[in-house]
């Protein structure tokens, strides 16, 4: 029997790992969206307090961040390896190629996983530089809530999303994340062994719904903030 580490380097292992990392990244997105939606809480300080609470976790937060970075990079690395292996497995491509339709899940979402994935990778780097390290801001805005000084993340977010180009950029990337998840959620289940023929169509539909909810949930934020600013809310 191969060792677990050897097993994870086979075609099965690669899929188990993309599947597991993909599921955890998706769960992270759910948590991230829930956190972001505190921006619209009736309490205007809710979002800042939430961010402050996370920072106060200290080492716990660092551990969570390290795990997240490892999951993310492992997922990206394996995704790119799968794509490279695909290129090697068919050195001479078809001159004419068509999907046969029927049960096939070849569509705009599944065919662009590597493209949407790489965009997500680049986006996340910029996004972290933007909102975690405030590299694109002239200064780090501070505020005092309940006598405690903390970063005014709400102001950072609102300032950014008053810029139409940032809003359009975020919206485009959120749509691409939706595409990644439309195929990704379903694919992860099959990679992890979902084999009940009655449940597979349900998983595909639910995957599509999760993709739309996450995508629309995230892109709602910049668009709403921009429109509120435009019409003086």
């Amino acid at each position: 029997m191969p060792s677990i580490s050897n097993a994870l380097q086979t075609t099965i292992g690669r899929k188990i790992l993309t599947g597991i990392t993909g599921v955890f990244l998706t769960l992270f997105l759910v948590a991230h969206l829930a956190g972001n939606l505190t921006l619209f809480s009736p309490d205007p300080d809710a979002f800042n307090l939430y961010a402050h609470f996370l920072h106060e976790l200290g080492p716990l937060l660092w551990i969570a961040e390290i795990i997240l970075v490892v999951l993310f990079l492992a997922h990206a690395y394996i995704g790119i390896s799968i794509y490279r292996r695909r290129k090697q497995s068919r050195p001479e491509n078809y001159n004419y190629y068509n999907s046969k339709g029927g049960p096939s899940k070849q569509n705009a979402a599944s065919k662009t996983m590597i493209f949407t994935g790489i965009i997500i990778l680049l986006f996340v780097i910029l996004h972290v530089m933007h909102f975690k390290y405030h590299l694109f801001s002239p200064e780090t805005y501070m505020t005092t809530i309940n006598g405690e000084e903390m970063v005014d993340l709400t102001r950072h977010v609102e300032t950014a999303f008053h810029n139409i180009w940032i809003v359009l950029g975020y919206t485009a990337v959120m749509v691409l994340i939706g595409f990644h998840l439309k195929h990704g959620v379903w694919s992860a289940f099959v990679s992890l062994g979902a084999s009940n023929p009655k449940r597979l169509p349900v998983i595909y539909t639910v995957g599509g719904i999760v993709a739309v909810l996450l995508s629309v949930g995230f892109l709602f934020i910049p668009i709403y903030i921009y429109l509120r600013h435009l019409f003086g809310g």
Binding site: T11, I12, R85, G193
Partner: protein, 251 residues
């Protein structure tokens, strides 16, 4: 359904051998009977080529009844042509229209090296089978039929996977050239039968390792293989293979 003969334009892949460059050769046939099978149409073309003292087109075929899995043709960009659950030998010219241009290419995958024209070497599948696609049997007298009870549900599942004819359409149609549907079908078929139990773990590992060694790609769950499969094997075979493999490794 018209019985009129059809005119068909063909773009057929010709390649002298593995080392030479291939190209598309154009042929027009004015006398294609709509009730001919696709392979009969190619037979007719080959007869015409031989009459003109030209080299006939090499293509693989044997049973011509959809059970041997040798008729590997990518027709109009689809493994075995446009009809679902149909091997190329069972495809009929009435599926096409008078005046159509039809492209024919070989299976394309690194693990299926080119031999000539439309014929490729699929012995990679034989090596995957040899690695573990068998069961141990007692020699001697034939055992009583039905001596081992198998629940109907399990027997049905095993039978569904056993319908794989090993044609390689899954590899040919897969954007990644993955052989997961083939290997998955073989592993899952035996995993559902008590006869497969003694080598169950060894089999999953050995067949997966051999598939990997042959240079097939990974499975991205496109499910194109299921669409191309002439017997419609479900990709549940692939999910089952993954479970079989991981169970074998973890136990």
């Amino acid at each position: 359904m018209s019985n009129e003969n059809m005119t068909i334009h063909l773009k057929v892949w010709r390649q002298k051998g593995p080392e030479t460059k291939g190209f598309f050769e154009d042929h027009t046939m004015d006398d294609v009977n709509p009730h001919m099978s696709f392979l009969e149409m190619l037979d007719l073309l080959n007869e015409q080529l031989m009459e003109q003292r030209k080299e006939p087109i090499e293509f693989d075929h044997d049973c011509r009844e959809g059970i041997c899995g040798s008729c590997n043709l990518v027709i109009n960009g689809m493994a075995h042509g446009p009809e679902l659950r149909t091997a190329a030998c069972q495809l009929h010219m009435r599926k096409f229209s008078d005046g159509d241009t039809i492209t024919i290419e070989p299976w394309r995958a690194r693990a299926f090296p080119m031999i000539k024209d439309l014929v490729v070497d699929r012995s990679a599948f034989d090596r995957i089978m040899a690695a573990g696609g068998y069961v141990s049997v007692k020699t001697g007298n034939a055992p009583d039929a039905n001596a081992i009870p198998i629940p109907k549900h399990e027997a049905d599942l095993a039978m569904d996977y056993a319908t794989c004819i090993g044609c390689g359409a899954c590899v040919a149609s897969c954007p990644n050239s993955s052989a997961s549907l083939f290997t998955g079908a073989k592993i899952s078929q035996l995993a559902h039968l008590p006869q497969g139990a003694p080598e169950r773990k060894k089999r999953a590992v050995a067949m997966v390792n051999q598939m990997e060694k042959e240079g097939f790609g990974d499975c991205s769950n496109f499910q194109e293989c299921e669409a191309a499969c002439p017997v419609g094997i479900s990709i549940t075979a692939i999910a089952e293979m993954r479970k079989e493999y991981m169970k074998a490794v973890l136990s």
